[in-house]
């Protein structure tokens, strides 16, 4: 392997100390919020270390302590031999930090950003032309040096951030959630670059909320609520789950009912839908008997599957939630005039000369869970907004329950429920006032209003929080409240815009339990997501890329497209990359 010029001489031989970062008993709190609790760990040179955990686990806080941007309340951190508090200046030289949000100037070009960054580091830009060329080559940003940073795609922004973080030849590279907002193709590129850097002896820390990313790391620090749950290679953790993961194959249309039943079994710790199948994790020491009986009853095959990192994480937290949705239990089955709940024909949206959605056509059946999938900027959001009447199409039409939403009367709008990204609740109103507002705005009469609100409080166990502000609620409760508000008027069609982004896997499972329950009652669900494994819950997935619909099928069928001899059981992410690459080839040959 060629030597990498961005890495300063780092100790490589076995005799020298290979520890890059030593964290000892670190505590950090912000007011009453305990962000990190008595955390001790070591990070090695020449290794990719994953800092893994859901939002609010303390990942960013730890990153900022490592770079000397925050001072811990207790404990010590040593990075490359320097104490982060006492030798703060040395830390900035020894470490490269790429913050979560794009930390560069959007109104400067790629080159101007790099120059500015170099100058801030006190480097002579004229003498470092070689370094610039190497960095541009390494990040494949060479052709885009004159482009404004604000006009770059999510993936390219991350690469530019990486180039700048590498400028000072750091010994330790800290990347805060580099995978967020980056499509799977660019993500692979980032992995490749990080691999090259660790091969040269650099210590790289990659923080992530995606548990599937953790599996790619050589070592993992698993955080939850400020506490270190696990420190070591991910395989070590998943190995503990050996022989506990199973899949009920090809359950088909009954899979939601089967999942509910499985989750209610005392021997089952966790379960998710995977395409047409149901993936089950047994409790520690539990027998396979019960789940085998369930498989026999449903007349499906039960196969053992390798454990995943996510299984292990859920297991560490004591298993997932139960399978019955108290919410869906209370609903009566949905009656619709037609079998088609949502449809769009030749849907097109242009903003100036930019086409955000290009000629998209599909139909969604009643009771279907329909996913819209695509990288950022693919037109997912625009299409979604046209479907629920928030944007007017430039061309074509969209219908919900037989109503054209462009001419949407209150009547049509009252048939759909909508839950926006990051649960848009009124933070100035209390929990009860939020519920009352959504009941009022959907014109429920005072008797129904009172009854429904009580019902929602009961179903979602909100009674202890009624006068609290939504912002003070734990994430899981906040999500329940948002769902309660969206469902107050019992809509037959529910629109969910990235409903689980930034939510921990347990809360996400609870959410999907409700969604599955609703779908079984005949509620049609439209959902956008960038979690690839979440797409597995959908009956059908519409894949959008560069404003076009490039594929529409069941998750299993999409995965089969990407299957080959080396990859007999591809993941949704593999399927996505495969589809995007073939779409790119097609578009290129068309041009």
């Amino acid at each position: 392997m060629q030597t990498n010029p961005f890495v300063a001489a780092t100790p490589k031989s076995e005799s020298e100390d290979t520890t890059a970062v030593i964290i000892e008993g670190v505590d950090k709190h912000f007011g009453k919020v305990q962000a990190l609790r008595d955390l001790s760990a070591r990070i090695q040179y020449g290794r990719l270390t994953g800092l893994v955990g859901p939002d609010g686990a303390g990942k960013t806080t730890l990153m900022r302590i490592l770079t000397g941007l925050l001072v811990p309340n207790a404990g010590h951190v040593t990075l490359a031999g320097y104490d982060v508090v006492r030798d703060n200046d040395a830390i900035h030289v020894a470490s490269g930090y790429m913050p979560q949000r794009f930390g560069l100037y959007e109104d400067l070009t790629v080159m101007e950003n790099m120059r500015l960054y170099a100058q801030l580091r006190g480097m002579d830009t004229n003498r470092n032309a070689d370094l610039f060329d190497e960095l541009l080559d390494f990040t494949r940003l060479g052709p885009f040096t004159k482009r404004l940073a604000g006009k770059l795609s999510g993936g390219m922004k991350q690469k530019l951030g990486l180039a700048c973080a590498l400028m000072a030849r750091p010994k330790v590279l800290l990347l805060d959630e580099p995978g967020v907002g980056v499509d799977p193709v660019s993500r692979q590129d980032l992995w490749r670059m990080v691999q090259a850097l660790t091969d040269e002896g650099m210590a790289v820390v990659w923080s992530t909320a995606y548990l599937d990313e953790a599996e790619r790391c050589e070592s993992v620090l698993l955080l939850n609520k400020g506490q270190l749950l696990f420190d070591g290679p991910p395989q070590e953790l998943t190995a503990q789950l050996e022989g506990r993961s199973f899949r009920l194959e090809d359950v088909g249309s009954e899979r939601r009912a089967v999942l509910t039943e499985a989750l209610n079994l005392p021997t089952v710790s966790d379960g998710v839908i995977q395409g047409a199948g149901v993936r089950i994790v047994l409790r520690d020491g539990a027998q396979v008997k019960q789940i085998q009986a369930l498989a026999d009853k449903a007349k499906v095959r039960l196969t053992a599957v390798p454990a995943r990192f996510e299984d292990a994480f859920i297991d560490l937290l004591g298993g997932g939630p139960g399978g019955t949705s108290a919410l869906a239990e209370r609903l009566s089955p949905v009656e619709l005039g037609s079998d088609i709940a949502v449809s769009c024909r030749n849907l097109t949206k242009r903003f100036g000369d930019f086409t955000a959605t290009d000629n998209v056509t599909f139909e969604v059946r009643k009771g279907e869970v329909f996913g819209l999938l695509g990288p950022n900027g693919a037109g997912k959001s625009t299409t979604f907004k046209m479907l629920c009447g928030l944007l007017k199409p430039s061309h074509g039409e969209a219908q919900v329950v037989g109503h054209d939403l462009r001419l949407a009367t209150g009547e049509a709008k009252s048939r759909l429920g909508y839950m926006a990204q990051k649960f848009s609740l009124y933070s100035m109103l209390s929990v009860r006032q939020n519920l009352e507002f959504s009941a009022g705005v959907y014109q429920l009469n005072s008797y129904t209003r009172r009854k429904r609100i009580e019902e929602m409080i009961d179903t979602f166990v909100l009674s202890d929080w009624l006068s609290a502000a939504p912002d003070s609620l734990p994430l899981g409760l906040k999500q329940r409240l948002a769902l309660a508000c969206a469902l107050m008027h019992r809509p037959p069609v529910l629109f969910l815009d990235e409903p689980t982004s930034g939510v921990d896997p347990i809360t996400r499972r609870e959410f999907w339990t409700h969604i599955n329950g609703l779908a079984r009652k005949g509620v049609t669900i439209m959902v956008t997501t960038h979690f690839m494994d979440e797409a597995e819950y959908c009956d059908r997935v519409a894949m959008l890329y560069r404003a076009r619909l490039i594929a529409l099928d069941t998750p299993d069928a999409l995965k089969r497209l990407a299957a080959n001899a080396n990859r007999p059981d591809p993941t949704m992410e593999d399927a996505f990359i495969h589809l995007v690459e073939s779409a790119d080839r097609e578009m290129e040959s068309a041009e």
């Binding site: 009367t409 009252s414 909508y418 848009s424 009022g440």
Partner: protein
């Protein structure tokens, strides 16, 4: 199909929400409660065009009767707190340089002698040009005092005072009589403008605006529910300033209260329309606040509050007619001091009604336009 449907249930829910949002949001609360108190204190007590509590330096080289008379009158004058006696021209200059006195009077040695000889005495007045406005007013006061002395010198002679001004409606030219009624309009303008311009922008930041748009509620309902709290608060603030004028400052209220109230409501409705337009195009609350000030401050400057509309270039005069505050100022000042007849008030009310109709219609179009 017409989307102008109103539902009482939906309106009620939204109205309660709006009121709670305005009262619970610290930013809105500040907009509502801080400016009235602050403006009341600042404008009514501090910002005044009258000159008072100033110091004057006197370098009196004359020992005669008339210079003595003049200095005594200065001493007893209400607008001067201290008369500083100095012994040299240099000290005089220093006091002015250091800003300790606003004006200085140098009386020459032959002052009394000249007057006794039947000629007119001359004294030098130095004024601090850095405070030109107050300086000029001080000079005017000093000339008055000099004229009084002159009248004593020749009591029989017809002292020629070129102009005798009699100020109608405000005979003593009490500055507050003019400023407080105007403040009622300005306060109501800014509170209504800020409350409404924050309203949609706030919901957009929270992400709840989309939620509102997908619900069956109509644009008209959104506009109405967002107008009402601003209307209520703006009207109350306007009335608060009016009563402060009547009861605290004792300004004679001579017009019709009913007509004033009706014009206040029309005035605020027209401002609410402008505020909602700003809010509809703002992506963040910060933009909304900047937008409100970018519109509000020029509106106040052009309304005739600071400078008469008639003195502006013709184009700006036309523009001033489109500013609701211009018309409201005429009404509120007329109601206080002039006992303005109802016909005159109505003449200023109908433009307010037209502006209100126009801005509210445009606000509806703007809000609906966000759906494009």
């Amino acid at each position: 199909m017409l989307t102008f449907t109103l539902s009482f249930t939906r309106l009620r829910a939204q109205f309660i929400k709006e009121v709670l949002l305005v009262l619970r949001d610290p930013r809105s609360r500040m907009v509502v409660f801080v400016p009235p108190i602050l403006q009341l204190l600042v404008f009514a007590f501090a910002a005044t065009l009258e000159v008072s509590n100033v110091d004057i330096a006197v370098y009196n080289q004359d020992a005669g009767r008339w210079s003595h008379e003049l200095v005594q009158r200065l001493d007893s004058s209400r607008f001067i707190s201290h008369v500083r006696h100095v012994d040299s021209q240099r000290q005089l200059h220093e006091l002015i340089d250091r800003g300790e006195v606003i004006a200085a009077l140098a009386i020459p040695m032959d002052f009394s002698r000249t007057i006794a000889a039947g000629e007119s005495g001359r004294a030098q007045v130095l004024v601090d040009g850095r405070r030109s406005n107050s300086g000029q007013i001080t000079v005017a006061y000093l000339s008055t005092i000099a004229a009084e002395v002159a009248a004593e010198v020749t009591p029989d002679a017809q002292v020629s005072i070129p102009v005798l001004v009699r100020h109608w409606f405000n005979p003593n030219l009490v500055y507050r009589w003019f400023i407080v009624p105007g403040l009622a309009g300005i306060l109501a303008l800014f509170s209504a403008l800020l409350i409404t311009s924050l309203s949609i922008a706030r919901e957009r930041e929270l992400g709840t605006f989309d939620q509102l748009l997908v619900s069956p509620t109509s644009t008209s309902e959104i506009i109405i529910s967002k107008s009402l709290p601003a209307l209520a608060i703006g009207t109350l603030l306007g009335l608060f300033m009016v009563s402060a004028g009547v009861f605290l400052f004792g300004i004679p209220f001579t017009g019709s209260f009913g007509l004033l109230l009706a014009s206040l409501v029309l005035f605020i409705l027209s401002v609410v329309g402008i505020g909602l337009m700003i809010s509809a195009v703002s992506m963040t609350q910060q933009q909304a606040i900047l937008g409100a000030f970018a519109i509000g401050v020029p509106a106040v400057l052009m309304s005739g509050f600071a400078t008469p509309v008639e003195n502006m270039p013709e184009v700006l005069q036309w523009l001033a007619q489109a500013i609701p505050l211009t018309h409201f100022l005429i009404i509120v000042e007329g109601s206080f001091l002039k006992a303005m007849p109802p016909s005159d008030i109505l003449a200023s009310m109908w433009p307010l009604a037209v502006i209100a109709l126009a801005t509210l219609t445009m606000a509806t179009v703007f809000v609906r336009g966000r759906l494009q």
